[in-house]
Symmetry: C3
Subunit: 260 residues, 3 copies
Amino acid sequence: MKPIVTLLSDFGWKDSYVGAMKGVILTRAPETQVIDITHEVPRHQVRAGAWILKEVVPLFPPGTIHLAVVDPGVGTSRRPLLIETALGLFVGPDNGLFSWIPQASTAIARGLDADRFHRLPVSPTFHGRDVFASVVGHLAAGVAPNELGTTLADWKRIPEPRLVVGPEESLGEVVVVDGFGNLVSNVAVPPEAWGRGQRVWVRGHDCGLLLRTYGDVEPGQWVSYVGSAGTVEVAVRHGSAAEQGGFREGDEVRLCSAES
Amino acid sequence: MKPIVTLLSDFGWKDSYVGAMKGVILTRAPETQVIDITHEVPRHQVRAGAWILKEVVPLFPPGTIHLAVVDPGVGTSRRPLLIETALGLFVGPDNGLFSWIPQASTAIARGLDADRFHRLPVSPTFHGRDVFASVVGHLAAGVAPNELGTTLADWKRIPEPRLVVGPEESLGEVVVVDGFGNLVSNVAVPPEAWGRGQRVWVRGHDCGLLLRTYGDVEPGQWVSYVGSAGTVEVAVRHGSAAEQGGFREGDEVRLCSAES
Amino acid sequence: MKPIVTLLSDFGWKDSYVGAMKGVILTRAPETQVIDITHEVPRHQVRAGAWILKEVVPLFPPGTIHLAVVDPGVGTSRRPLLIETALGLFVGPDNGLFSWIPQASTAIARGLDADRFHRLPVSPTFHGRDVFASVVGHLAAGVAPNELGTTLADWKRIPEPRLVVGPEESLGEVVVVDGFGNLVSNVAVPPEAWGRGQRVWVRGHDCGLLLRTYGDVEPGQWVSYVGSAGTVEVAVRHGSAAEQGGFREGDEVRLCSAES
């Protein structure tokens, strides 16, 4: 089976940077299928990139190689990283970007110190091309992870968004405002608890009872529901909850029994 | 030959949604070539998506699987759909998105009711991942359409943009403002009628004689011509006709003999 | 090995144009791996496209077919072009877009005059689909370059950005403002000259000593460094140098010994 490589970055599509990484990978492993996840992670927002990886990584076939670059510290002492889990291989900066991938706690991490697998001389401002893509190309061509660097005792993990789960209420936050303007929170709702008369507040504003989907309200109305990540979301049907409510990442999300 | 799957959506590139669909497809059919048509259909604009499908579908090889999601009614009673024509397979919501594909009138339509081919539990807000991409993955892996759902007596077709063709004049509308700001209409001009001294009006504004291409006028000037869809278009050379003229989708386009 | 085709254009992602080109290619050569470089070259900016090609082409495997369309003169007398170098094949308009690819001076250029390899009738406004993508599909399917057109004695080369290299100072210009707002110049700095106490000015503004990378200054501060193209760049760490300094393409960049 041909290797699958996914790309995630905050490079945007307009420059040469995305194409440069693809070229470097394909030169080393021409049979690779290269898959764009996104290149529009908000600039330098490591947490936003970490959330997307958390969402998409479990959906790819085991053995997929994920290249991710949101790297405000490129060229500083932050290490280049290779992580192995049962789900796949992950290559990128050691800045927390891979914190929330499944099975992170049991992953094997390596520093990418075998520079014969890099594109030399390495540009201090574009490790995406000269270190990460080069290493990914070699991995796709069959080089074993242990040739690429020595194992690390630890690697950077950023804390999960704050979350307090209680018997009467749960308290979390808006982790992503998506492109539709929907507010995606980290407050998980187990399937057995759906539709039990629960109410949602965002930063103190009542966003109504937890419903099933957009279609449960009229266009233009607010709706709270369990979104595709299994967590509470708040939307304006056919509108933007973020714009209309002035909400943004980090805002407090509260879910509690409707009576309280 | 490996299967080809195209993706069209209004998800935008910035979120996890595009990557999620790709992962689900590749997990079920790792050899698939996944091709992005666009993820920037204007949000919830089913007609805009339908127009793009009409334009691109005939250009792909027969047997291509087209996954399209512009789905403001996700989670409501609108059905998930599989359509078969001689040109390929189409998977997405039954909301009119596939209205204008070639051979729509003779297509076989199925409701996607065999939920063993879905990703369970299905999120009420992300059928793109849990129903459509999952079904597309199974199709790409060789599952036959008739296993995925039972045939439907009918499916939703939205009307073509208004068009009145007469011997002296044709009356249509702007169906798309493209990214260059060009006005694309539905007024077809058969090749034998090109260059016969015809004049174009948009919402009552004289846009000049029908010429051959942008280069027939100077930069900054208005130009009417037969565009790549075989229909009348109006542009400002190296500028934006939509912005400069205040035109938009739905505006009336009239083509008539130059003397009238 | 399956053929690799890259796509570069100023079409943007929102319309049918990108999908149309992909369909035409895959119909002629279904095994092709189609790789998006960018579709967000600024509209009609041939020089911006030329710069991206210069950066990414050397990174792809030899034999790659590069389809590039930034084509403000589509439908005029500018010729459609096929260029062969040791690095690959290049298809697009003869308007200077391929001026700066490696080995341009020894390339073989052909006019695409064998219209049996075009998609007929050719739209005067969409050679990207009907000429370039069609020819690329045939190339990917194994048609030899000499079947596609006769050789040209010359083809359009646009001048390199102005550059004066002297013993004490070098004078160039901003060739690209990238998506981060960084100013990318054409003033090359050989590795042996890095870190020798040199100072950078942009349009007369002192942008400091040439450092190694962003991390050498605090967030919010200006930094000059040798960028991933091997040339002088100027950035604001975690900010936009273009916005904060009011700089843009064409602005003069001067590099000289720190004392002068």
